[in-house]
């Protein structure tokens, strides 16, 4: 089965910023692929290239076997794009918005209406379908935007940071919708800064930074590769943190991390369960009372740190992503 996306050696420069620096990526059909990376990693540039909005300076790019540079119009027939901002028209109803896009895909009036109804149903927007979008909540707008990228029955859905700025509940609703799509046979490429999102949705995660792929695999594979088990301790009293750190340092050759805000200390170890017993014994000996203690697999945050040496943005925060649409051409200085 042809991979849905094949990218080889993609490079792209905007002014003196190298947005893509030799990117290689293969996304297989039948699963969600997540592109994970910090601001400026080049995720949006890559999605734009797949969506035929940006032409790479060099390299090969194919969507469903179609050469993007050679036949962009055919590529546009099989993709659906939902960019970073919900680009639906507030002065039109949900249904009208979907019908508009369906008509642009070449469906006649009746087929467009049917497609719009179908998508509204699938995304739980049927009741709100005849209301103006300006009355929708943020989460509903995003879902409608997702719907707009679906009406043309694309083979590949491109979602650029789909849940940025959404509250946790809307985020989960959108995740459910996205998962439902894959079950229906649509391939999905999504970009995200939210580790939770990549972890939750994708079977294939590609970690990207500075315009190239750092590592790729399933979330579990990546965690295996980049990390060891981690022992996590939360003492009841914040004042005990230093003592906890010392204990943790004694069972590992790694430096313990501690966070005063969450009142947790952790350290990576080689034999998780055994070291845990040791740690618990020592904590008991020193009469430190605990709120929580346990051993866990590394988070993608730790994977990223291990692979790239820098931390990713904290996951799930109200992250102001307005500086993220940096690849758009507002003048010629684009910091990708």
């Amino acid at each position: 089965m042809t991979p849905i996306i094949e990218a080889r050696g993609l490079t792209k420069r905007f002014g003196d910023v190298e947005a893509l620096a030799g990117l290689d990526l293969v996304a297989e059909s039948g699963r969600i692929t997540a592109l994970l990376g910090p601001n400026g990693a080049g995720k949006t540039t890559f999605v734009s290239a797949v969506a035929t909005l940006v032409r790479p300076d060099a390299g090969e790019l194919r969507v469903a076997g179609i050469d993007v540079a050679g036949d962009p119009r055919r590529v546009r027939q099989v993709i659906g794009l939902a960019g970073q901002f919900a680009s639906v028209e507030p002065a039109m109803t949900g249904r009208e918005n979907l019908q508009l896009v369906a008509r642009l895909f070449g469906l006649d009036r009746r087929a467009a209406r049917a497609a719009a109804d179908d998508v509204l149903d699938r995304l739980g927007l049927a009741e709100a379908g005849d209301r103006l979008v300006r009355t929708y909540s943020g989460g509903m707008r995003r879902r409608l935007d997702l719907g707009a990228s679906l009406v043309g029955r694309p083979r590949l859905l491109l979602l650029d940071e789909p849940t940025t700025g959404l509250d946790p509940r809307s985020r989960r609703e959108l995740w459910d919708a996205i998962r439902g799509l894959v079950a229906d046979g649509v391939d999905v490429l999504l970009t995200t800064q939210y580790l939770e999102e990549a972890d939750n949705l994708a079977r294939h995660v590609v970690i990207m930074d500075h315009g190239r792929v750092i590592d790729a695999g399933t979330p579990d594979e990546l965690k295996d590769r980049a990390g060891r088990d981690v022992i996590d301790v939360r003492p009841r009293a914040a004042g005990d943190l230093p003592a906890v750190e010392e204990i943790l340092a004694s069972v590992s050759d790694d430096t313990p991390q501690s966070d005063i805000n969450t009142q947790r200390a952790s350290v990576s170890v080689d034999t998780g369960a055994d070291k845990l017993t040791l740690v618990v014994q020592k904590l008991h000996d020193q009469r430190i009372s605990l709120d929580d203690v346990g051993v866990r697999r590394p988070s993608l945050d730790e994977v990223f740190l291990a692979l790239t040496g820098q931390a990713l943005a904290p996951s799930g925060n109200d992250h102001d992503d307005h500086d993220d649409h940096d690849d758009r051409d507002h003048g010629d200085t684009a910091a990708a």
Binding site: M1, T2, F14, S48, A51, T52, L53, V54, R55, A64, G65, P72, R73, R76, Q77, V78, I79, G80, L81, G83, Q84, F85, A86, S87, E89, A91, M92, E96, L100, V101, R103, L104, F105, G106, L107, A111, A114, A115, D118, R122, L132, A148, S149, G152, R153, R155, L158, D184, G185, H325, R328, D329, H330, G331
Partner: protein
């Protein structure tokens, strides 16, 4: 792997891999859909239409009643008759000036990106927008014409000439919609687009024969004021509506000004439609 085109049905299709390859709309459909979107935007956001009309009325009022008494048209024509043709022609610019902000917003917010990722001719998106903008400005032109008559304007040309004057203004409306579209596309964001538009519209409307005779301006302003396209078009409209170039206070013949106006329109249209399409359709 073959792709089949099926009619869209519910997801309980027996062919779950209904991976339809949609062919995409043609130029006409895409243009209409694009125009429709802009139309609905304006019709359902009343302030977008109402505010320019009100400010236009205020403008007319100020010039007709406040300044009018002090302005000497130089050849015995009532100021109201002198003013209104100029006022109407420049309405095209003052109203058209509202479009760039919306266009810039669309560009910045991903609407244009979505359109560009669709299997449609990219030029159709801007063609549709200019049609809608042109139509909406024409509506304001019509309302302002009524206002002009309400404050005392009377035509002195024959009916055919007056109709021709409106015809010329409608053509100019369409032509200038492309200019504002282009400004919106290169503006980058709504404020910048608005700012650039103002910087352009103000000199072209005021340093023209629209509100005062060019002859009344200082000598160093006259070369620009005399030859710029707005003056040419105002002269044409005024001559047509007032029954001749003498009534309009200019030389040459009515035909001269009309032909020159169309030449300017053709040139402006060619340049700006080309720029707009190139800018919108480009793949970076």
């Amino acid at each position: 792997m073959s792709t089949t085109t099926t009619t869209i049905g519910p997801t309980t299709d027996t062919q779950p891999a209904a991976l339809v390859s949609a062919t995409g709309a043609g130029f006409a459909t895409a243009t209409v859909q694009s125009a429709r979107r802009t139309f609905l935007q304006y019709l359902r956001t009343p302030q977008l239409l109402v505010l320019p009309t009100i400010t236009g009325a205020m403008f007319l009022f100020i010039f007709r009643y406040v300044f009018g008494g002090a302005i000497d048209t130089g050849h015995g024509v009532d100021y109201v008759d002198f003013l209104v043709p100029g006022f109407l022609l420049t309405t095209i610019l003052w109203t058209g000036m509202n479009a760039p902000a919306g266009v810039a917003e669309d560009a910045a917010s991903g609407v244009h990106d979505r359109f560009r990722s669709l299997p449609i001719p990219r030029a159709a998106v801007v063609a549709g927008r200019s049609l809608a903008d042109g139509a909406l400005t024409s509506w304001t032109l019509f309302v302002n014409a009524l206002l002009g008559f309400a404050v005392g304007f009377r035509t002195h040309g024959d009916v055919a000439a007056v109709v021709a004057a409106f015809g010329l203004m409608l053509v100019a409306t369409y032509v200038f919609s492309w200019v504002f579209l282009t400004l919106g596309l290169v503006g980058g964001n709504a404020q910048a687009a608005q700012g650039i538009s103002t910087l352009i519209v103000v000199p072209f409307t005021f340093l023209s024969s629209a509100y005062v005779p060019v002859g009344s301006m200082p000598g160093w302003l006259q070369p620009f004021a005399e030859h710029q396209p707005i003056t040419v078009m105002v002269n044409a409209v005024r001559s047509l509506m007032l029954g001749g170039t003498q009534a309009a206070g200019v030389g040459h013949t009515t035909g001269y000004w009309v032909v020159l106006s169309f030449v300017w329109c053709a040139g402006i249209l060619a340049v700006f439609s080309g720029l707009a399409v190139a800018r919108f359709a480009r793949t970076r």
